[in-house]
Symmetry: C2
Subunit: 425 residues, 2 copies
């Protein structure tokens, strides 16, 4: 046994399955080589020699996974959300992302992002950078230092965006992508590349073809955007008249799951055929309720995705979302599902807190393997929450405290965090 | 000039009108006898002798007003919101409120509520207690000590609720109300009574008649609930078949604005006639977006209320809402208006941050008089926010920082607070 072998003492809550929470008060969670050996009410003899970290009275939950976040947009989180997607990209996103050609600026901005991601309750994240190779590598260096497990994408975009941010052609975009992959190959323990065509409107057919080749050669996972907003969907239809639906435009190039593990963010407006294809191909949906609210996109039919057994987790989508907190995303997912039910479609029942918590832990975590639970065999990602400032005269169960934490945790309530059995603070 | 005369130095943001923010960087806000004498870039000579509190670099905004909050429900904030209104009242609210017959319990619970309300960004609040006279007086004692300006209501309810919480008849309810008014008369400087029939389903006609008499005799303001939820509305129609609409059932007893300053919480489902009558009678609407989301009630048509010039402010509605923060309610109001626009009704444009901030300051504050602004003549309620932990490489304007504060302020970011020119911490 190594330093990833230890015992955490405290009050535990995690998902048994999408509908049920498992709770243990005053238990012992055993980590052996960074993997959970289970939670016990009485510590079994074989583990008596392990060091114990005593968090008695604190609430310990699995690390959260952020399946969709834009690191360069963190600088303007909470600003300028009075526009819909396409206008917002032009007004706020592209001008900001252009700054990352300047490595000094990138270092300052990405340093803040990495520091705040480290301090929150997220242990795994799938991250968009920009189209700048050096800045993307700098971001990966900074993330590696945090101790988090992340996938990072250098963004590809060679059409339909301003000169100051557009790459100079498919060939150059692909070449830079290969340079980035080669330069970072084998460099990190916790930080890996993910292929990141921005979205269909930003990528020529030639670029998509070249990216598909790169994907196959380097066996990369893939992340992009799908069916977020009505205006966007109509534009994709114009750009790709042969596509039967938005996801079909990715699929035409072999970039829609199947061989490659793939995340598509949003899926607010996916049609039946698109949903069927996502299921068939095992595509992950990154549900981003706060962003979909802020940009007036709508609310994804998460109940349907859950019931039909699609792969799905949560994303902060900073800076469409203003908060990096995936616990906040859990609450947002519940709340948005209630308004969707009330205002739009009473055939899809609202999500429960247990279901949304599952999305934020096991649902998204499974993109990284056995992640997001304390059941034996899962990689040991754990977050210690200090909920003592939420005073109440009531005797609360551990499950009550989880529910309250979902609605009321503030970022600085995270008292300690463990990733793959490593304590990162 | 007295101790309520001083100068605050810092970065200021407040509403010039519902659509526009006024901002001053590195300015001087002058308080003379607890009333704003304006903000100056250079401090005028007549004020040179006043003490200066230097909050340079901090964001200073007017105090927020919470037009609707239930103090006894604070104990279970963030819990049990998987039900709609009427079932939620039976399952959670009534059993908890019954505990306030025990003054020890009430002291513990209300002490937590008053302490947290003091520490947040709220400076004025309209508060529901329970039907227990002693506990309500205890709550008023505790609130008086906080330095906040509040209106507190002993709740009336003599039908359609469980025995353990129902008052024993209209006469007894009215008599206890008078006892409460007499016992607290002249006792406080900052804490005043507000007549509080729970809502139509909880109050017999006889009780409403007696309360109307009490209102006229004591010249009390009034608070209650209106058109929150579909099931509730149908029930009121059954209970009051002669009423043309829900508000008409209050109006039949003279308890719907006009002579009495009146707050009606929610107004999610108000019909044209009800809206017209609220406007005619100057009834205040307490818009409670988080509660209306959590209890799946819907989203009030706030754009319409603003455009038609109705009186309207924001409420946390704890524990239908889980957060006491009215800054959070500002963000919620914007976000819910976006989903209402997208999912339900594209004739009513979403709220801007400036509009929702106006609701949380001037809109609700006006129920208390000239409150919620730093314009000359307004009572000096000010909140100093430390937003330094929201790091960014961007140069932000004061207006940008206000927008960001709306989305990202955590309760403990409040560094100092002044109410009517008194520093309360």
């Amino acid at each position: 046994m190594n330093s990833n072998s230890f015992v955490l003492k405290g009050d535990f809550c995690y998902s048994r399955d999408p509908r049920h929470l498992e709770t243990v008060r005053d238990g012992f969670l055993v980590s052996v080589d960074g993997v959970s050996a289970g939670i016990y009410q009485i510590l079994p003899e074989p583990y008596w020699g392990l060091p114990v970290e005593d968090w008695s009275g604190r609430l310990i939950i699995p690390g959260l996974t952020d399946l969709h976040v834009h690191a360069p947009q963190y600088a303007f989180r909470g600003l300028g959300m009075d526009l819909e997607l396409l206008d917002w990209l032009e007004a706020h996103v592209f001008p900001e992302e252009a700054k990352y050609r300047d490595l000094d600026y990138a270092g300052k901005a990405y340093g803040i992002f990495a520091g705040d991601l480290k301090r929150g309750a997220t242990t795994r994240a799938c991250i968009f950078a920009t189209a700048h190779t050096e800045a993307t590598e700098l971001l990966m260096d900074l993330l590696e230092e945090t101790g988090l497990e992340t996938l990072v994408g250098r963004v590809n975009m060679d059409r339909n965006c301003p000169d100051f941010i557009r790459e100079s052609g498919a060939r150059s975009s692909a070449k830079e992508t290969v340079r980035w992959l080669e330069e970072t190959s084998g460099k990190y323990r916790r930080t890996r590349p993910i292929l990141t065509p921005r979205f269909i409107p930003s990528c020529t057919d030639e670029l998509m073809e070249r990216l598909a080749e790169i994907q196959r050669e380097y066996h990369l996972p893939v992340q992009s955007h799908l069916s977020e907003n009505g205006g966007e969907g109509a534009w994709v239809q114009e750009l790709c008249p042969a596509s039967r639906f938005y996801g079909d435009a990715y699929d035409a190039f072999g970039l829609f799951g199947g061989g490659a593990k793939t995340i598509m963010a949003h899926c607010v407006l996916s049609c039946d055929e698109e949903i069927a294809l996502m299921k068939e191909r095992g595509v992950y949906i990154a549900h981003c309720p706060q962003s979909n609210t802020n940009l007036s996109s709508g609310v994804a039919p998460v109940r349907r995705y859950l019931d039909e057994g699609l792969n799905i987790g949560l994303g902060s989508d900073v800076a469409g979302g203003s908060s990096l907190s995936i616990l906040r995303a859990v609450a947002d997912a519940v709340q948005c599902s209630k308004l969707r039910w009330r205002l739009l479609d009473q055939t899809l029942a609202p999500l429960t807190v247990a279901e949304a918590f599952w999305l934020g832990t096991v649902g998204g975590g499974s993109f990284f393997g056995k992640v997001g639970s304390f059941a034996p065999g899962y990689e040991l990602d754990a977050v210690v929450l200090d909920d003592s400032h939420l005073k109440t005269p009531l005797e609360l169960s551990v499950g009550d405290r989880l529910e309250r934490a979902v609605y009321l945790t503030e970022e600085r309530d995270v008292a300690a965090k463990y990733v793959k059995g490593q304590k990162i603070f």
